[in-house]
Amino acid sequence: MADHPLPDAEVAAEWLATMLLIRRFEERASALYAAGEIGGFLHSCIGEEAVIVGALRALEARDPLLSTYRAHGHALARGTAPGRVMAELLGRVDGTAGGRGGSTHVFDAEHGFYGGWGIVGGNLPIAAGFALAADLRDEDSVTLCQFGDGAANQGTFGETLNVAALWGLPMVFLVTNNRGGAATAPTERHTAVGDLFERSRAFGVHSVLCDGMDPAATFAVVGAAVRAARAERRPVLVEALIHRVGGRSAADPESATEDEPAQVRRRDPVVAFGDRLVDAGLLPAAARTELDRAAVATVDAAVAFARASPEPAPDTLLDHVLAP
């Protein structure tokens, strides 16, 4: 983790603030889900704050981003108002999709975030389509397509990598490899070759590994990939190794210090990054606490905004089935 240099203090604080916002947002969303205020599916980004913030900070504002059903954090890090994301989770008219998409389909074109997709592997070709559009319009944007290791077993993985390499599409595939799909099944029951970056090379897509629990490492590796894709008009695959992270308290620097072993602390990306900034003298401990308080306050406001937003009217049911 220490291999990759930290950014300067201001940038580092912004990263931590965003990671904390994602964590606090997801914790609150889980609570609202448990209470029945959010329905359907809720896929949490807890534990993925580092890979999200590290990767997204390596993008320019004009670079399109596509993610999966686990995408609240991507919208938040891209700059979507937390209230609009929360309103979507609550199914309200001020949600990013007017309450029609829900947690799975967060969407915010204004911030270059093109979903929020529910079919495992389905977002890969669509992301490649964004890259193709940039290419055809001679724009220099790079499309970032994030997906889980489970998607690497879908046909679209090989098909899209092949065509991206063949056509030199300016895009970065970011695999968040938590060595498992869905609720339970470990990688060993999904694939004979665990290394996705090997698979990628066989399709002609250059690939690299990174530590997805470290925002600085992710920033450095994804940043290099984005630069290569932009300059050389070719796809790159980044395999970010991540692991699951436990419950709520892990994000809370104060409550966590007491009863959790150092090892667990280090495994939590939000805690670990905060610790590191404090240790490196980039952030006073008090400022860290303040950032967390601000995140909580932002989430409070987001929930209030979402709750105040109306439900869509029943007679709007058929709106947007067809574009006018």
């Binding site: 329905g39 359907g40 599916f41 199914g91 309200r92 999709a97 309450g99 029609r100 998409g101 829900g102 947690s103 799975t104 389909h105 997709w117 529910g118 079919i119 495992v120 592997g121 489970g150 998607a151 077993n153 879908q154 046909g155 799909g181 869905a182 609720a183 339970t184 099944a185 029951r189 999904h190 694939t191 439900e311 869509p312 029943p314 007679d315 709007t316 049911l317 058929l318 089935v321 067809l322």
Partner: protein, 360 residues
Amino acid sequence: MSRIVTYRDALNEALREELARDDAVFLMGQDLGAYGGAFGVTKGLMEEFGGRRVRDTPISENTIAGLGVGAAMAGLRPVVEIMSVNFALLAMDQIVNHAAQVHAMTGGAARVPIVFRMPQGAGGQLGPMHSHTWEALFLHAPGLLVAAPSTAADAKGLLKTAIRDDNPVVFLEHERLYGQRSGVDAGDGLVPFGRAIVRHAGTDVTLVGVSRMAVVAWRAAEVLAAEHGISAEAIDPRTLRPLDLDTIVASVCKTGRCVVVEEGWPDAGVGATLAAALQEQAFGALTAPVLRVSGAPTPMPYNKGLEREAVPGEAAVVAAALDAVGYATRRAVGSPLARRMARAGGATLRTVRTEDAATE
């Protein structure tokens, strides 16, 4: 002796009994082994029959379906679970180009005794990529049998029949029914394909409901009797191919009116198929058009209220039945909402509304 069990457990029993009865039967799907299935239908089966016969698969729907087709051609009886009917679109090539056609295109030399189990249906706020009701997509293809049970006994009995049939079967389970309890008889409990069942006898109007809508039609028949003094006959076809059209035609010849209730989309739907066939077969007997109460022609919205609005409920069925019974005009013109739906959904008006029927 009848026990009260859930639809989920009835399916589990069917799978367990068929796995025990016939070594050729095996199960494949995502997370159906150790985890017991996304909806818990296969709980305990991996422990009982082992990981070879109750097999977790990667997320590769088309290939898993194709593995089943090959294994079936080789003489096994695979039961493939697709975690949600929406994901079956990834496997349409193996299901329709391959499974459905192999028998005919080999001149009868090969058979594909496979069951594709697919949870379907709205009501869980699972949104536009996990909530649809797609009997019609499979019914369109002639080589597929299509089953859509609405009770625990039918879930069990039809699944066992499906596994023993030599044709590919698309077996559609409704997600909102998994927790519903009803009686299941002792014994093998086989339910034949192609035999409709009258859930509620009546003489004024026939209600045909498919999948969970069979339950809705049945309840609507009770409401019509209790609150409107109308005697409705509620029929559950149980399988769509083969379809027991005779039972439905006989009922319509008696009642002169019919409302078809489907959760799926109206255009090229199951309701259209039944309406077309009924007016062909029972034209002279009909005193009102065959009306359809269909799922709204829209991707399923996440919002709870919109989702509820998109799925037919008892009230809509009761209203349509009243329309049918009170039908007196030569030409019903759609209401503004009906006209909107016609634009969004193409040809279809969901139902002739009471107010329009009243204007003439």
